[in-house]
């Protein structure tokens, strides 16, 4: 009796294997047949058309780990994200939780201190303007995919700001002396904030420039100036090597999540965007070098926490002035004791990193508020200029964001570019009611940055946002 069962099973399995093979061949195709009523309707309307219309092809859910299938699912998700009408909808879609649920939980959590609520939040690696990490500059470049150029672009050389410099110079010197002496004589004022002097000097500078040049330049007349606003952005970086031992990789489903949070002293925003400095097809934005630091953020010395993602460019959705012109950062408190600990060389690198991280994340958040995101790339490059001061030392940066996708999946090959000027000394010292060794170049660069006209008007700014929601088109 044993022999016939064996033969039967053999026959059965051969047939099955044949069927499976056929199924394997047509695995990715599923034909959607129409119902008879629909078929008849189509036949009545138009039997033949000039362009044939086929039903969409979908891969069948046989092997979920198949890379083709995964890619198809990702593409579907990204299309779904692009179709969301408003910025808030997009943000809620990326946070994989309805916002109302979070609102219900949040007050409870504060009262009861229930840590189990946090397990639904993603792991975030916090980026400050200056992280207290040694040799951090290549890592910052890697996670933002920026190339560093150690000079400012040549387009500023053609700008002539000599009359404005002479107009402001004496007034600015007086302001410097008065602010310095005010804080020197009043210890209580100086104790409030370490960088209080530089903040008030920045107040004076911005006020002077706006008064002197505001009436002659339209972009300054309509510009909005914000003081100490939130500047927050998050993004994802993939491709870090996983640890073999057991233990959390601390990753979200989009990749390693980085969250930047800061409060710059001044943000100046204009209606129109700045024109591009280098085209996106240039060799600098396609083939320039970016250092590869594929280290886990924990290994580098960063700390993680759990919270929701936040994306704030310093204004609310639907604001008329949605493009950044200049940002002024004050870094007295953050770099106070760093020269003793890290050394002077390391501090210079940290300033460069400050410029890269702050301008990248501001531009990213601006792009997000125009309807682009980490997965749907920007259609035109975004540019901003940033000034970082210590009171005595000043450094100037210009940044061009070529793609928001740069740091996520590596599908885009664009590099972001950061032009960094040399760190300049504004004055040697202030003694006997006089500024000694005053440097005009700092004022000149400040004026050049603020008087650069944004001219990008005839573009489709937000193709992925429905215009009825925002109500603004230019």
């Amino acid at each position: 009796m044993a022999a016939p069962t064996q033969t039967m099973s053999k026959v059965f399995f051969t047939n099955i294997s044949k069927i499976l093979l056929r199924r394997d061949v047509f695995r990715h195709v599923r034909v959607q047949y129409l119902r008879t009523s629909e078929r008849s309707e189509i036949a009545q309307e138009s039997e033949y058309t000039d362009e044939p219309q086929y039903p969409s092809l979908e891969p069948v859910l046989l092997n979920t780990k198949d890379p083709a299938h995964v890619a198809y699912q990702q593409k579907l998700w990204i299309d779904q994200l692009r179709g969301k009408p408003t910025v808030q909808d997009k943000l809620d879609f990326i946070r994989w939780r309805p916002k109302d649920a979070w609102r219900e939980i949040r007050p409870k959590m504060k009262d009861q201190r229930a840590p189990e609520v946090w397990k639904h939040c993603p792991y975030l690696f916090r980026l400050h303007p200056i992280n207290r990490v040694v040799n951090f500059l290549p890592y910052q470049q890697y996670i933002t995919r920026t190339t560093l150029v150690n000079r400012l672009p040549e387009l500023y050389n053609s700008m002539d700001v000599e009359p404005q410099v002479e107009q402001i110079k004496t007034l600015f010197k007086e302001a410097l002396i008065t602010e310095e002496l005010r804080y020197r004589h009043d210890a209580r004022l100086a104790a409030q904030k370490p960088g209080a002097v530089t903040c008030s000097v920045l107040d004076q500078l911005v006020g002077l420039v706006m008064q002197a040049c505001g009436s002659k330049h339209d972009h300054l007349l309509t510009a909005k100036v914000d003081n100490e606003t939130r500047q927050e952005a998050f993004w994802f970086v993939g491709g870090f090597p996983k640890r073999e031992e057991k233990g959390g990789h601390l990753q979200t489903k989009y990749g390693m999540a980085f969250q930047y949070k800061a409060k710059p002293w001044y943000l100046i925003r204009t209606r129109d965007a700045l024109p591009q400095i280098v085209s996106r097809d240039d060799t600098l934005s396609t083939e320039a070098e970016v250092p590869e630091c594929k280290y886990h953020p924990v290994a580098v010395g960063m700390t993680f926490y759990r919270d929701e993602f936040s994306m704030v460019p310093g204004f609310k959705d639907g604001d008329t002035n949605a493009f950044g012109l200049v940002q002024f950062h004050e870094c007295c408190e953050q770099t106070r004791d760093l020269t003793e600990r890290f050394g002077a060389k390391e501090v210079e690198k940290l300033w460069l990193g400050h410029g890269i991280i702050s301008s990248f994340s501001w531009l990213l958040s601006q792009a997000f508020y125009q309807g682009f995101d980490h997965f749907n790339d920007i259609t035109y490059p975004l540019i901003t200029q940033s000034v970082i001061t210590n009171g005595q030392y000043w450094q100037f940066f210009t940044y061009q964001l070529n793609s928001t996708q740069a740091s996520t999946y590596g599908t885009s090959y664009y590099r972001n570019i950061c032009w960094a000027g040399e760190r300049m000394k504004l004055y040697d010292c202030i003694e006997d009611d006089q500024v000694k060794g005053f440097n005009d170049d700092v004022l000149r660069w400040c004026l050049k940055f603020m008087l650069r006209e944004p001219l990008l008007r005839n573009i489709e700014r937000n193709p992925y946002i429905s215009t009825s929601q925002t109500g603004e088109t230019h």
């Binding site: 040694v134 040799n135 090597p241 640890r243 630091c293 280290y295 924990v298 290994a299 580098v300 010395g301």
Partner: protein, 154 residues
């Protein structure tokens, strides 16, 4: 120093003693890939960052820029039937030391592949010799004591 007590009386009351610190630092290979300017140490659990910095700078002359710390929890041993925790192992304190002045350090390869292969060959040879010896023993047993169980011997 972690202990301030004077050492107890010992037999013979030896006068000349060397008091070594209770602190210790053990240089280990890191689990994750990390940049070359970072070095990992397992340290005494009561040692602080400042202690480690002083220890390296003043005794070995290695400049330290920054230190970050991690405490790895000890393993729990659970009761096989009831499931409650019966024993917990000690925690380990790990210091990640960031070297200043662009110094770098690479953990040496303690078990290189050349030595590994030679030792493995030796083990193989030894096991082959053992097998041969067992075979010989079996052959002798079959020849001289056929049909007798193995425990039957003098």
């Amino acid at each position: 120093m972690s202990t301030k007590l004077y050492p107890l009386y010992q037999l013979g009351n030896p006068r000349t003693r060397v008091f070594l610190p209770d602190f210790w630092m053990k240089l280990v290979a890191s689990v994750r890939d990390q940049p070359k300017h970072i070095v990992t140490f397992h340290v005494h659990p009561r040692m602080s960052k400042l202690d480690a910095k002083n220890y390296l700078e003043k005794i070995y002359g290695v400049k330290v820029a920054n230190i970050h710390k991690r405490i790895i929890a000890g393993e729990y041993k659970k009761h096989p039937f009831y499931g409650h925790v019966t024993e917990r192992k000690d925690e380990t304190k790990v210091f990640f030391i960031h070297l200043a002045d662009e110094q770098t350090f690479e953990f040496p390869d303690i078990f290189p592949e050349d030595k590994k292969s030679s030792s493995e060959d030796q083990i193989k040879q030894y096991s082959e010799i053992q097998k041969q010896a067992r075979k010989d023993q079996n052959v002798q047993w079959k020849e001289y004591r056929p049909g007798v169980p193995s425990w039957f011997s003098l």
